[in-house]
Subunit: 314 residues, 2 copies
Amino acid sequence: MKIINLDQIKEALKTIDIITAIEKGFIAYSNGNAVVPPVGELLFKNPPGDVHIKYGYIIGDEYYVIKVASGFYDNPKLNLTSSNGLMLLFSQKTGAVLGILLDEGYLTDLRTSAAGAIAAKYLAPRVVNKIGIIGTGTQAKLQLEYLKNIIGCRDVIVYGRSDYNLSQFKIEMENKGFQVIPTKSIEEVTSSCNFIITTTPSTSPLLFAKQIKTGTHITAVGADSPQKQELDENIFRNADVIAADSIKQCVERGDITHAIHKKIINEGQLVELGNIISGKNKGRIDDQQITIADLTGLAVQDIQIAKAVFEAIK
Amino acid sequence: MKIINLDQIKEALKTIDIITAIEKGFIAYSNGNAVVPPVGELLFKNPPGDVHIKYGYIIGDEYYVIKVASGFYDNPKLNLTSSNGLMLLFSQKTGAVLGILLDEGYLTDLRTSAAGAIAAKYLAPRVVNKIGIIGTGTQAKLQLEYLKNIIGCRDVIVYGRSDYNLSQFKIEMENKGFQVIPTKSIEEVTSSCNFIITTTPSTSPLLFAKQIKTGTHITAVGADSPQKQELDENIFRNADVIAADSIKQCVERGDITHAIHKKIINEGQLVELGNIISGKNKGRIDDQQITIADLTGLAVQDIQIAKAVFEAIK
């Protein structure tokens, strides 16, 4: 049994092709080869916090995986990050504990960004003129970083509400080779960018149908619970491709759920990311389409990233 | 963060009063002071195995706890024990990982036996003439061991189907100060013993109403899923006290569920162990009563034993 700390995980990640690992996970999920029970949840009031337990396995694989990820939102007052957690690998043959990845929530952040890159790979317009990022937090930055190998464009417009966070985003991302224009106007993003990623915990829509230009792709990663919403439902009315990481999960949480409840779209219009990757369903087929990817986060992503890190170190 | 192995856990257990810790857990649960979501489950076919994830916290406590316990039933062919697992302690204030108890399923066995001892404390007849044990496995032995401090009687009749397992049980338990008569007749147990513990994974009843003498107590710990059953439903018809570790859980799994479904008893007749311990409900009040305790295993037991071990070592 191996116990692996965050420094070792970060070192191992340099040698790993996460994108390919997670693509395989999405395919297994969409093929019905992954066993992924409903997410376990614990909520805390004082101080406010939530814990999600995602777990499962790919049939015939060596491992089963349990991931614990928490957000304790008063932590910054104590000079601690909000996120924490770990990933556990067990033998699917004997139940033995094989590895404990003390990732402190980091691998959850990465596998989410990797899913964004995968969505871009199959759904981004051929030529991205400007990348729009809604939000300035950890996930906003990581999503952009992970696009580097998928999209050639380095021009970014970032929307945020805090001057400080906008300028921090600009400094950090320009250090990574992007040119960043900060804005407090969503319109500035939607009028200039044909590739937009939304990364906020908003509970009311930030983007509206009339703002979205023909040929735009939107990846929505912020909304992971039934209450959260970043995209106005009517955006889905004009979409040519609506991809979900999991149709089952997106009908219950994320942005798609709102459009379904208002009967703007129906479940039959959704395609699963795994089926796009495997070629069963089409991704973007021309540069005039509006495409949307709604990513709510699947246990198969956790399974695949945990396996990849563990095997790189083992 | 502390990682604690099985040897360290066994050492720490020598200094801990588990019974008191788990009694407090039952009381917190019955008072509504414990947050205990539904059990997470993973099933495996080849080789056959199951994993249960029990988790939760006591409101206002320092920790939240996640327990993973697995059974892989072909393990003995590989010279491995069927059980495995671990317990995780996290801060309820920040989400930080505080401790990992690599107990390999051992603490789950112990907290189950401790619950049996607690049931005995409040429900056993004043004078136990002979202890009857149904089953010869790990839990059968541990239940008997944990009775030592609760019940003075050292005369045991053990029922099993395998001569080898019966003789092993006799040797081990006589080394621990009991006098053991092995039998392959359930009647021999029920006619002589006024305190009986059933510890098997049976899916059809082993004990029947006409066998149970006035004044007998039965603790049923084997049935922890809806399919399993050790007590014929009619036994409940004659019972004066029917205690459940959790009314909610026992209505869905364990022996009580069968009696409820056949309308032999109703939920209103059940009392919770935590309420007996706290004095809200009565346990046994005279030596003529038939009493039953149905123990299906609660996350609060895991929380309390994990905390006790962690604090003893910390």
